[in-house]
């Protein structure tokens, strides 16, 4: 970071000195140099402060499609999942051991968790969807902690270093954890949004969904009914705002914000002086392992809980 600032500042000074007109006095030249140097230093500072840019840098293009480093990492994660699942369930045994045991424990654990929230019929619809989210998010979150992800890449060449391909600051890493790209989390939340509405209509029917959201959900006599109906219509407007807007947006931004924030925190810790970096980064790494696992769990559990609020009959039976 510091090196990058120094490098750019010295470059700026050279350019400014070169551009000084010959007729200028010494004091004027010095002043103009100072003024010009000020700008590059500032921009270098800004560039160095943003350790992980929000926009994933583009590595190369395939035809009209730009390929970013987070996309490359997504493909690797997807390939990894296919290989792991195929290897562990290639030859299924009666008594599971090793990898098969792990996969079975994972799947049975989640089936039990979903059984607490959803009806058996809905579990059958939601389970493959939510489970794939969980496995994908866990593995892509944990790539955040691998050495080389986000730290190997292209940048400005560092002329002061003794190493052959040294750079001052990695501005274009080859790999970036998929979930630190908001495009991926927003896409996942979008898929969830469509599927959630589809399941709600499939379970309740189109009229049933409207009655479920806007209908009166408590026992009432016929005198109180119009008042309650008005009240529940207003509650339904708020609830539909939550279902249509707040839930998917919060779902996407929670995952993105957590993992992106963690990645930034780790990069900041590792950009300190050596001893301080070790002291800050080791606790941060343990914290990040927990956050990565927890956020995958939370994303999946919220998907299940949100579907559960729309696909249930328990509070409608009072109405009639």
């Amino acid at each position: 970071m510091l090196l990058a600032a120094v490098f750019t500042a010295s470059l700026g000074a050279q350019l400014a000195v070169g551009a000084t007109p010959a007729g200028m006095t010494a004091a004027g030249a010095e002043k103009s140099t100072a003024a010009v140097v000020d700008l590059p230093t500032k921009s270098a500072k800004v560039e160095a402060e943003v350790l992980v840019p929000q926009k994933a840098p583009i590595l190369f293009n395939i035809g009209p499609l730009p390929v970013t480093n987070s996309m490359v990492c997504t493909w690797i994660v997807a390939a990894l999942i296919i290989v792991i699942v195929r290897l562990t369930t290639w030859k299924m045994k009666e008594v599971p051991g090793g990898g098969q045991n792990l996969m079975e424990a994972l799947i049975e654990g989640w089936e039990g968790l979903m059984g607490n929230v959803l009806e058996p019929k809905v579990v059958k619809w939601v389970f493959p969807f939510a489970m794939s989210f969980f496995i994908f998010i866990v593995i892509s979150n944990l790539t955040d902690l691998l050495p080389g992800v986000g730290s190997i890449g292209m940048g400005h060449p560092d002329n002061t270093s003794v190493f052959p391909f040294a750079i001052t600051h990695v501005s274009k890493p080859f790999f970036r954890p998929p979930t630190t790209d908001a495009n991926l989390t927003i896409a996942m939340a979008g898929i969830f949004f469509v599927m959630c509405l589809f399941w709600a209509v499939k379970y309740n029917g189109p009229w049933g969904v409207i009655r479920h959201v806007f209908g009166v959900k408590v026992d009432s006599n016929k005198w109180l009914y119009p008042v309650l109906l008005l009240l529940f219509i207003f509650i339904g407007i708020m609830e539909s705002f939550s279902i249509l807007f707040i839930r998917p947006v919060a779902l996407a931004l929670r995952l993105y914000g957590n993992i992106f924030g963690g990645e930034t925190m780790l990069s900041m810790a590792l950009a300190q002086k050596p001893l301080l970096a070790v002291a800050v980064a080791i606790p941060a790494y343990f914290f990040e392992v927990v956050v990565c696992l927890l956020q995958a769990f939370v994303f999946t559990m919220l998907v299940v809980a949100f579907v559960g609020t729309l696909c249930t009959h328990s509070d409608e039976e009072h109405g009639h």
Partner: protein, 68 residues
């Protein structure tokens, strides 16, 4: 008293609120598990969802106001 405050105070306030919410959720969860250890799974799951919702608002605030 007039003083100028600079920095990301709004984000600090948002995360402070989220931290209080998460703390309350954790305290409630610990108390519930202490009274009824058998219900650990259900209490823990519900607690985590509550924590995630509290934290989600802070992250929303961070992304909306923090990255101008």
């Amino acid at each position: 008293m007039l003083a100028e405050l600079t920095g990301n105070i709004h984000i600090g306030l948002a995360f402070g609120g989220a931290a209080i919410g998460i703390g309350i959720a954790a305290a409630g969860g610990v108390m519930a598990i202490g009274r009824n250890p058998g219900a650990f799974g259900k209490v823990f799951t519900t607690m985590l969802i509550g924590m995630a919702l509290a934290e989600g608002l802070a992250i929303l605030a961070w992304i909306v106001i923090g990255n101008k």
